[in-house]
């Protein structure tokens, strides 16, 4: 057991407990935050330093088949960013798709301690578990996709909500998922039939149901199972000019679904950069008529309480787009003419996931407006708790650019500097230049710690510094009483690019950028227990469906314990109220 630690004199930001800049001691024992430790504890004086919970990134593509294929086909992405091994760390490479070790180390050195992979093709889960064995210095988790699976469609078509819920519960148990992801429901599948289905009310070929039916059914099933994380939603019609309207329509269509236990939010909407593009009045929905929908969407959010959202902030420079939305990637490939990957995944994602390397330029009309969208949105929402900072790594930019995103949110001066040479559309087609609001430090802490932990349903142990929380702590070298971040955007970037100290489960894993490699801290999973008769039914039905539709056996679908047991931090939930 490691020695107890007491962090003294640090200035603490812990929004889950209403603490904003109080000088306060934090006691750590046996990997947890505790009330107090005895006199023999190791004392670390943090006078003049900033203390907060370890960062929680709820949407970052860090493991799995598409990350692997992306890495493999882009050696040029890593080549200029070598990371030599040290006494305490493995060697590797960086940039938009670092190898697994460097992903963990770089998050550690920025003060992040929990990162969730938001798009798992469930039948390839074994590969992701193998990969997480080599994902050091982090807590992680996986969100399996249920959006383009024939099994989902079959239950939706039959109107069998219990069957659908049981299928979700079975999959989460068998592959070790944390929640439910939806990506372009029905649209990716339709593309396997050669159909470009972007309308949520259009018919999914061969099934007589619509994306709307699928989205609503899955959303209801998530609530019926009482899953802690609500439906994680990448809607239809991503990345198209004017899609703020379709995104709003798709949120409207699930508005009536009641959250379990009276919770307000039933949906987490992903990456604003790609979901809320508007168009100028009378425009043709082409890229020439692009306009920011960020403000409009913020107004919608302020009026409607049933969802949360993350930014997917474009950071400019190299990125690699990768998503379970294959048809969107094909569309993007037609724009770039460069490399294009499509990955079919049997009956779970027939149309395929896609990968297209992309470089965002501030000189490009579309990119500059897309950059402004999530900022305009984040700076116009009433409730920062519902707005999460992300870059949808590596889609809009690598996670290492988070400090830059903080600086845009916290400093009007920084936005003005960046907009100086930007394409004129950033000025003409957005209201960002007129927005004076600047996020406070506490807002950033909410958006990168407290809120993502709450949205993921892991707030008991993550995202805060209260007694009982995991001792995931980040310390930054800045005296917040002596610095005006808004006037010093460079300081924001400097401070948050490298933590002074990062603790993961009570272990010190980084000091001033010098990382100590430790094994993966644990994979968070949800284990919904359904009633026995439903369990028996779903096993029978899935055996039949999988043996019909898959190319491998139902019995070889689950991820074996030998790959999970030592990593898994399982939360069992009672979902027996779902009727058989």
């Amino acid at each position: 057991m490691s020695k107890d630690i007491i962090l003294t004199n640090g200035r603490v930001y812990d929004p889950m407990h209403g603490i904003e800049g109080e000088v306060k001691d934090i006691c750590i024992s046996d990997g947890k935050i505790v009330e107090k430790v005895n006199g023999s504890a190791k004392k670390i004086d943090l006078k003049g330093k900033l203390v907060m919970a370890g960062g929680v990134d709820m949407h970052s593509h860090i493991v799995g088949s598409k990350v692997g294929v992306g890495r493999a086909i882009c050696p040029e992405d890593h080549r200029k960013d070598p990371v030599p091994k040290t006494k305490d760390t493995r060697g590797g490479v960086g940039y938009t798709m670092p190898n697994s070790y460097v992903i963990g180390y770089r998050y550690s050195s920025m003060g992040y301690t929990t990162v969730i992979e938001p798009a798992l093709p469930a039948l390839k889960a074994l590969g992701s578990w193998e990969e997480m064995e080599d994902l050091p210095n982090l807590n992680s988790g996986l969100l399996p996709m249920f959006c383009n699976s024939m099994i989902t469609f079959d239950y939706v078509k039959e109107g069998d909500q219990s069957g659908l819920a049981a299928f979700i519960a079975w999959t989460l148990q068998k592959v070790g998922g944390l929640g439910v992801k939806m990506v372009n429901p029905g649209g990716t599948y339709a593309w396997a039939h050669g159909v470009d289905l972007r309308d949520h009310e259009g018919e999914i070929p061969g099934w007589g149901i619509t994306p709307k039916d699928v989205t609503r059914s899955v959303c209801k099933a998530v609530e019926a199972l009482k899953l802690p994380h609500m439906m994680h939603f990448h809607p239809n019609n991503l990345g198209r000019v004017g899609n703020v309207e379709t995104t709003i329509a798709q949120l409207d269509m699930i508005k009536d679904i009641k959250g379990h236990g009276g919770r307000d939010h039933i949906c987490h909407l992903t990456h604003m950069s790609f979901e809320t593009l508007s168009s100028v009045e009378g425009g043709d929905l082409d890229w020439g008529s692009i306009e920011s929908g960020g403000y409009k969407f913020a107004q919608y959010m302020n009026k409607n309480k049933h969802f949360t959202a993350d930014m997917g902030q474009i950071t400019f420079g190299p990125a690699t787009t990768m998503t379970g939305d294959g048809p969107f990637e094909f569309y993007l490939y037609q724009l770039t003419g460069g490399k294009w990957v499509s990955l079919a995944v049997d009956v779970e994602l027939p149309g395929g996931a896609g990968i297209v390397p992309y470089t965002y330029s501030p000189k490009a009309a579309g990119n500059s407006v897309q950059w402004a969208i999530p900022l305009e949105f984040a700076l116009s929402v009433d409730d920062v708790w519902r707005c999460i900072i992300s870059t949808d790594h590596p889609n809009a930019g690598p996670f290492t650019k988070y400090p830059l995103v903080f600086s845009w949110l916290m400093s009007k001066k920084q936005r003005d500097i960046w907009m100086e040479d930007m394409h004129k559309f950033a000025h003409e087609r957005t209201i960002l230049p007129t927005i004076e609001r600047e996020w406070s430090l506490q807002d950033v802490v909410i958006s990168t710690r407290a809120s993502p932990a709450k949205i993921l349903g892991i707030e008991k142990t993550k995202g805060h510094l209260g007694v009982g929380a995991d001792a995931d702590v980040s310390v930054y070298d800045v005296d917040t009483t002596k610095v005006d971040f808004a006037k010093n955007p460079d300081k924001i970037i400097k401070v948050f690019s490298e933590s002074f100290l990062t603790f993961l489960g009570g272990k010190q894993v980084s000091k001033k950028g010098k990382v100590k490699g430790v094994p993966n801290e644990g994979v968070l999973t949800i284990h919904p227990e359904i009633n026995e008769s439903l369990w028996a039914r779903i096993n029978k039905e899935l055996e039949q469906k999988m043996n019909n539709w898959y190319s491998h056996s139902f019995h070889n679908y689950p991820v074996p314990d030998v790959y999970r047991k030592h990593l898994e931090k399982k939360t069992v939930i009672d979902s027996t109220s779902v009727p058989a």
Binding site: S65, I73, P82, P84, K124, E130, A192, G338
Partner: protein, 433 residues
């Protein structure tokens, strides 16, 4: 292990990883392999034959049996004193063994390469140029109405590929005999061509020209020649029109495309052709991976080093350079001074220049069985066979990971590759301290 019947066992021979084997085990021997192809039956029923007899060290041409500990100590000694270690193989063992191999390469500042550098390495290079539209096997069965095997002879090398995936009925192809066409493109009439709907014979070494011409035709260009690669442009145009008219086409390709003249340029062209066809209809492609876990070797190498093969750690971080850090080139240049070979038989397959150098350097060989490399090796360490005598994970040709089962006990003291490699790694760490 449990006597009796083991079902849903994954076959660890080729990249198909068929997972429907039904094995009978009696007295720790496999007595029956139901569902397996002839090769699978041979592998499983004869797994106990031709084994290496125990750890051994060769000196002055004589091989002497030693303890595992002594063999590992010698291996560590050789690696610790090497200036340019080459770690090679990996595609016929399971993924956890790969991890230890990369650790050894990193610790020793050596090079690690897998067998894809002599099979589908060009496929990866092609994808690095253009991307890839990757198919999945269940998709092929459910949807494909046109299947092409190019430079691949599945009936011989992947005996159940056609029966299970391209000649079987699926959700939307109820009668594959009438609703799906299979073409074979090759330089000679293979047994697969014999069971296909159409055989298209091209002249050796003309794949790139033929594919490029097809791509031009698919784009509506007019060619001012009559023949390409032995095929008339008129016939090629008909082929292309049929490909555009298909609802869901899949191109399977083998070493006839990756290792013939043009190599990665062939693949690049094929990828671009398939990408172009997606402007008209659905097309995807899949390499016919040979060794059962060569796809896994690419995958593990990629997440752990950043690169799929040909990785050098001499600078303390991974560098990638096919042609330089690939095993054949490392050996042919006389650069490697120790070879750690894991679950492969380079002595049987490498070209003469590489082989010659293998005769000059110490080889540490991990394999369950005797082979050409074991005859050359200074240190031989026998291992348990993954998927028969120990468990593990492997990756199918379309990227699907599968769990390999242990069905019988290995011979006494035969450990999995991963355990032996771990011992070598730990020994190396101790020596280097």
């Amino acid at each position: 292990m449990a006597e009796g019947t083991h079902e849903n066992v994954v076959c660890t021979f080729c990249g198909c990883l068929c997972d429907d084997l039904k094995l009978e085990v009696k007295d720790n021997k496999i007595t029956d392999n139901e569902n397996g192809c002839a090769i699978s039956k041979a592998k499983f029923l004869h797994h106990a034959e031709d084994r290496l007899e125990g750890p051994s060290i060769r000196s002055n041409g004589t091989s002497t049996k030693v303890s595992l500990k002594d063999a590992v100590t010698r291996a560590v000694d050789l690696i610790a004193n090497s200036k340019r270690l080459l770690v090679y193989g990996l595609s016929s063992t399971e993924n956890d063994a790969h991890r230890e191999a990369y650790k050894i390469a990193e610790e020793a500042g050596g090079v690690v390469d897998n067998t894809s550098s002599v099979c589908h390495g060009p496929t990866i290079l092609g994808a690095q140029e253009s991307g890839e539209v990757v198919a999945a096997l269940a998709e092929v069965r459910h949807r494909s109405d046109l299947v092409i095997y190019w430079g691949s002879n599945p009936q011989f090398a992947h005996p159940r590929h056609m029966n299970l995936h391209t000649k079987a009925a699926g959700e939307w192809i109820k009668d594959p005999k009438t609703e799906r066409k299979i073409w074979v493109v090759d330089i000679r009439k293979t047994i697969s061509a014999g069971v296909a709907d159409k055989y298209i014979q091209i002249e050796p070494g003309t794949d790139l020209e033929v594919i490029s011409a097809m791509r031009a035709l698919a784009r509506g260009k007019i060619l001012d020649i009559d023949k390409v690669g032995g095929q008339s442009v008129k016939d090629l145009k008909e082929l292309v029109e049929a490909m555009k008219a298909a609802k869901y086409g899949v191109l399977f390709f083998g070493l006839g495309l990756t290792q013939s003249k043009g190599r990665h340029r062939n693949i690049d062209a094929a990828i671009r052709l398939v990408q172009d066809l997606n402007h008209h209809t659905k097309w995807s492609m899949m390499p016919m991976r040979g060794h059962y876990n060569v796809a896994g070797a690419n995958k593990t190498s990629t997440w752990q080093t950043g690169y799929p093969y040909a990785v050098d750690y001499s600078r303390g971080y991974p560098r990638y350079q096919p042609g330089e850090f690939t095993a054949v080139d490392m050996l042919a240049r006389g650069e490697a001074d120790v070879l750690l070979n894991i679950a492969a038989d380079p002595a049987a397959h490498f070209p003469r220049d590489a082989l010659k150098h293998m005769g000059n350097i110490p080889i540490i060989n991990l394999d369950p069985k005797q082979n050409m490399t074991s005859l050359l090796a200074e240190v031989n360490i026998p291992t348990a066979i993954a998927g028969i005598e120990c468990d593990g994970a492997a990756t199918r040709m379309d990227g699907l990971p599968l769990y390999l089962k242990k069905v019988v006990e290995p011979p006494e003291d035969f450990l999995p590759d991963r355990d032996i490699l771990k011992m070598i790694y730990e020994g190396l760490r101790r020596v280097k301290k």
